[in-house]
Amino acid sequence: MRQFDIGRANRHPIRADLELIAGMVEPGTRVLDIGCGDGGLLDVLIHERRAIARGIEISQEGVNACVRGGLSVIQGDADTDLKDYPSNAFDTVILSQTLQATHAPRSVLGNLVRIGRHAIVSFPNFGHWRLRLRLLISGRMPASPSLPESWHSTGNIHLCTIRDFLELCDELNISVERFVALDGSGDRKRIASPWLANLMAENALFLLTKGKGAETDVDR
C-alpha cells in the first residue's frame, strides 16, 4: 500500500526509502518487488542496478502502467501468490510498505526469505512515540503521515512495532542483516539500536535472510 506518487516519467525523484532499498540490492542480481506500485523502484533497479527485476502488484492500474513501461509485472496478491514461487528463485525479494496490509504477515514473511536469499522489508513503526502519545492522550486510533487513513477505511490491517517485527523474525528463525531507521518521509535516521528506534523512528527498513540451521516455518 504505497501511498506516495512516484514520478517515474522522469525517473526522479524516487522516494528516499526506495533509494535506500535500491542501494541494498547487489548489481546484476535477480530481484522480485512485491507491491511494486507503478514500477518506480523496478525502473531504478533495472536501469541503475542492472538488476533482473520483476514485480507483483495488486492494483490493475499499477500493473498496466508497469507493463506499458516495459517492466515484467503481474497482477497478484502477496497473501495468495507467493506460495507459487520456487525456493531461492530470487537473490532479493522486496516488500516495501506492504507487510502491514497483508492478511497473513507471518506466512508472507516466511515466504519472502524462502523465495529470496535476502528479503528487504520496510513498514511504518506503530511504536513511534508520537503515535503512543496520541493514543494515550486522545484515546483514539492515531493517524500519521505514514498512516493517514482512519481505522475503518485503512488497508493497513496488521500494524506492528519494530519490536513486534523482531520478535516474529526470531520466531521464524529469520536473521536481521541490516536495520535502518527511517523518518516519516523515508529518509534515514541515525539510530543504530532497534530498541531506541522503536520509540524514535516513523518507519523501519530491514535486510533479512534465512537463519542458519532449522528450516523456516512457512505456510505454503
Binding site: 490493475q60 515484467s72 503481474i74 497478484g76 501468490d81
Partner: protein, 396 residues
C-alpha cells in the same frame, strides 16, 4: 511457392489487391509426424507476411490465428472488409510493420489454402473429407516451424495470438523455447475447459445433423451443410460476446417491426444478427475444417502433457511471457490465464500479466481496446530493448 518479396511497409496503406499471400510445399523431405500417429506430407501452407525481414532475420513476429481466422489479419484479398487484426498490425500499430516482419499462416486443417479436409488427398485424388487425420495444436505449431525453416528464421522475436492463437503461441514457446524471444498468449488457456468442449460439441453435432453434410462427403456430393454450419456459428458467436455487450448492442429491440409477430420469424434484432452471422460464415468456412479445428482445441491440454504440473512445461524457459485476459471473457476467463501465470511463476519465468477491463467479452482481443494496445506496445518495446542487449552481448 516462392520466398517473399517483402511488401513496402512505408506505404501509407498495406493494401495490395494482388497480394493474396503465398503458398509453400512443406514436409517434402520428411513428412510431418502428427500426434495421432500418422504422417502428413508433403503439405501446403498458405501464409502472408507484412513488413520487412531484417538482415539478421531477427525481427520476425509469428501471429497465430483463432478458430475461424485465416492468414490475412490485414487487408484480406478480394475483399473491402478489414482483416481480423487490422487494428493491431501495420505501420505505427502495436505490431509495427515499420519495425517487425509479421508472419501469419493458415493453420493445418484450415480452409484458406493450407492443407485441410477440403483439399485433395493425393492418395485418392478426391477431397480428404473425414479421411484427413485428426490434428492437434502441437501439429499446427510443428507445421509452422517448418514454415519458419523455409523463411530461414531460426528465432522469432515474438509469437502472439488470441484464443486458439494463444494456445498455439503457448505450445510454440513450450515446445520450442529456443525459437522465440517472447510469447504473448491473449484470452487463452493452458487447456480447453469442459464448458468449451461442450460448446464445440454442440457446434459439431449441428453440422453432422445436417443431411447436407453427407457423412463428411458433401464436397463430392455437391452439397453444403449450410444450416448445420450456420447454427454452429450462431451458438459459438454467443460465447464470443458478453451479456452486457449483447444488451448494449441489441437489448430487446425488434427487427424492422413495431410488435412481435407471434411466430418464429426473427422478431428480435439479436436473432437477425445471429442469423446473419451464421449465413455469412458459411460462405467463408468449410464445415469439416470446423470439425477438425474445434477438435484440435478440445484436445489441447498442456497440463496433462506435463504430468499434471503445468510449471514443468516452463522449466528453465528463457522466453519472456506477456499473458493478457479480458474481464468480461467468459469463454477463456481470467482464471485460466492466471493458471498459466501461476505456473510461470512456479518456474521463476519472466512474465507479465494484465487483465484488461472491458465488457466486450472474448471478442475483445479483436476489437479496439486502447489499454490492451498500450500494454502490448510497452511489452514489445521492453522486449526489444532487452533483445538488442542480448543480441549485442552475443556479438551477433
Amino acid at each position: 511457392m516462392t520466398q517473399d518479396a517483402p511488401s513496402q511497409s512505408r506505404k501509407p496503406s498495406l493494401r495490395d489487391p494482388f497480394d493474396a499471400g503465398h503458398a509453400v510445399a512443406l514436409g517434402t523431405d520428411w513428412p510431418l509426424q502428427l500426434d495421432c500417429g500418422t504422417a502428413l506430407g508433403p503439405f501446403t501452407m498458405a501464409y502472408r507476411t507484412y513488413g520487412r525481414l531484417d538482415a539478421e532475420h531477427s525481427n520476425a513476429i509469428l501471429v497465430c490465428h483463432a478458430l475461424t481466422g485465416d492468414q490475412h489479419p490485414v487487408d484480406p484479398p478480394h475483399s473491402n472488409r478489414p482483416g481480423w487484426w487490422q487494428l493491431m498490425i501495420g505501420p505505427g500499430k502495436p505490431l509495427d510493420t515499420d519495425r517487425y516482419f509479421v508472419i501469419c499462416a493458415n493453420v493445418l486443417g484450415g480452409c484458406a489454402g493450407t492443407t485441410g479436409p477440403k483439399e485433395i488427398n493425393p492418395a485418392t485424388g478426391r477431397p480428404w473429407g473425414l479421411d484427413f487425420p485428426v490434428i492437434t495444436i502441437a501439429d499446427m505449431v510443428r507445421a509452422q516451424t517448418l514454415l519458419l525453416d523455409h523463411l530461414e528464421i531460426d528465432r522469432l522475436f515474438c509469437v502472439i495470438g488470441g484464443s486458439m492463437g494463444a494456445m498455439q503461441a503457448l505450445q510454440f514457446a513450450v515446445s520450442y523455447p529456443e525459437r522465440t524471444f517472447a510469447c504473448v498468449p491473449i484470452a487463452g488457456a493452458a487447456r480447453h475447459s469442459a464448458q468449451n468442449i461442450a460448446f464445440h460439441e454442440v457446434g459439431r453435432q449441428a453440422i453432422m445433423a445436417d443431411p447436407e453434410w453427407c457423412g463428411g462427403n458433401y464436397l463430392e456430393e455437391g452439397t453444403v451443410p449450410r444450416r448445420g454450419l450456420a447454427v454452429a456459428r450462431m451458438a459459438a458467436h454467443i460465447t464470443y460476446l458478453s451479456e452486457p455487450a449483447l444488451h448494449r448492442k441489441f437489448g430487446r429491440r425488434l427487427q424492422d417491426r413495431q410488435a412481435v409477430t407471434y411466430g418464429f420469424d426473427a422478431d428480435f434484432q439479436v436473432e437477425s444478427y445471429l442469423r446473419h452471422q451464421g449465413s455469412t460464415f458459411v460462405d467463408r468456412f468449410d464445415a469439416n475444417s470446423y470439425l477438425y479445428i474445434t477438435r484440435a482445441m478440445d484436445y489441447f491440454d498442456l497440463v496433462s502433457e506435463y504430468d499434471g504440473v503445468l510449471a514443468r512445461a516452463f522449466a528453465q524457459t528463457p522466453v519472456r511471457y506477456c499473458v493478457v485476459s479480458f474481464t468480461s471473457d467468459w469463454l477463456f476467463p481470467t482464471s485460466q490465464s492466471r493458471e498459466i501465470v501461476h505456473a510461470l511463476n512456479a518456474a521463476a519465468a519472466d512474465v507479465s500479466f494484465v487483465e484488461i477491463e472491458t465488457d466486450k467479452g472474448h471478442d475483445a482481443f479483436l476489437l479496439d481496446e486502447p489499454e490492451f494496445f498500450a500494454v502490448l506496445r510497452g511489452f514489445l518495446q521492453g522486449c526489444s530493448d532487452h533483445w538488442r542487449l542480448t543480441q549485442s552481448a552475443t556479438g551477433s
